[in-house]
Amino acid sequence: MHFQQFYLGCLAHASYLLGSEGVAAVVDPQRDVEVYLEEAARLQLKIAYVIETHLHADFVSGHRELAARTGAKIYLGARAGASFPHHPVVEGDTIRFGRCMLKFLETPGHTPESACILVTDLDRGPQPWAVLTGDTLFLGDVGRPDLSAEFTPQRLAGMLYDSLHTKLLALADEVEVYPAHGAGSLCGRNISNERSSTIGQQRQLNYALQVRGRDDFVRMLTTDLPERPGYFARDAEINRSGAAALSELAPLPSLSCDEFARQQKAGAIALDTRPAAQFGGGHIPGSVHIALSGQFASWAGALLGLDRPLLLLAEDQPRSQCPPAPAAGGGAHAAGAGGH
């Protein structure tokens, strides 16, 4: 089977493409879904399944657009209460295509509807070789339990303890672990830099798995939680109903200096996306600097909110290796270096 990780630096987010015998599944897609469509076409795979391990709070997912453009069916935990057509996943559900078998584990904790996916490649053997852990288990960390409006962090942390110890740690040591986020993500506290690991390594090294006893775990996980970015609740709701397709968003206009200044005076925030040295050397007074090189989108959402009108400032010399910016979406100039 084909297994591929897509890593997006600007959100510290990982998504996955799994394929076999002409059929593919995409797990936790980012909003701009072109990458999966192109890769699937190149590999001559038809995307038939779009799987969300949970309702993401830190980014807008492309599940609906990807499903609409491929005819794929969306799989998401039954407890999400999502309003779009989907298969409500429960414990033990399976998907099989070609030599690939996916089996769902319900793993509430980070969110009530969180699920993990066991991946079996029948060419390798009858046992699962990997598990996609979403935001339940990260490399060196676990998901934060404080993003639900419905359950207290204490309640969710307790569920997370049970999910980790009865479901994930019950797996064999050699099973590979592929989470939905990497280092720096606002969804964890202390995620390490690697992109994959094994259950055995996490059993040994992950601080959160060293804590014995449910009560101690709950106490540890609910103490000193990092601030919760304001846009998280909004994004989770957008994902529950499914975001507008990017192709429906208006293209980004170019502004003259006069128009830019007028808009800024009217309350729009100038957002400068250039490298720090360029910004430091000279910038439009009043602008906020968030460089494209880091977790640009996460910080923009967390600090600026989703509603303030923004004015973009891009690099003086667009880098030539940049992929062409999509025609639609919030900023042809902001498309920047690929992969962030």
Binding site: L11, V60, Y231, S254, F260, H289, G301, L303, P326, G331
Partner: protein
């Protein structure tokens, strides 16, 4: 595009030609000087109390070790939605907008964001610390670890 990934869709537009066209039009520009960790250390040692140092890393990073002269203000608390007044304080202590304010994080990415927010809030002498705490450690400059927790 990247902004739409988190659900920001209210982008009015981009400045044609970027900051260069602004400069060519003769419009005013702001600056945030970059300061190296070695220069910052010298400033702190030679003129104690003159430079205000703000560390914008998260609580876990702060607890693992920080500059003795630093005050802690996590970047995540510095939202545009927060009251302007809260940006001018650290733990209830007012910062002086007319004295130099050196801002650092781990590597320099977050501190540049914070520097721009401080400048917007009216600080007149904001300095962005190049290379952040990583560079400070690499130069083996002194660090304080508040909790006696064993270093990992």
């Amino acid at each position: 595009m990247r902004l739409a990934r988190v659900g920001i869709e209210n982008v009015v537009g981009a400045l044609e030609g970027g900051v260069l066209s602004w400069q060519r039009a003769g419009l005013p520009l702001g600056e945030i000087p970059q300061i190296s960790v070695v220069d910052l250390h010298r400033e702190i040692t030679e003129r104690p109390g003159e430079v205000q140092v703000v560390d914008v890393r998260n609580a876990g990073e702060w607890q693992a070790g920080h500059l003795r002269a630093a005050m802690h203000k996590p970047l995540l608390t510095m939202t545009l939605g927060a009251a302007a007044e809260s940006l001018r304080q650290v733990n209830g202590r007012a910062l002086d907008q007319d004295r130099p304010l050196a801002v650092h994080c781990k590597s320099g990415y977050r501190s540049s964001i914070a520097s721009s927010l401080f400048q917007r809030a009216g600080f007149r002498q904001v300095l962005n610390v190049t290379g952040g705490f990583d560079a400070w450690m690499a130069q083996k400059l002194p660090v304080e670890t508040p909790e006696r927790a064993a270093t990992p």
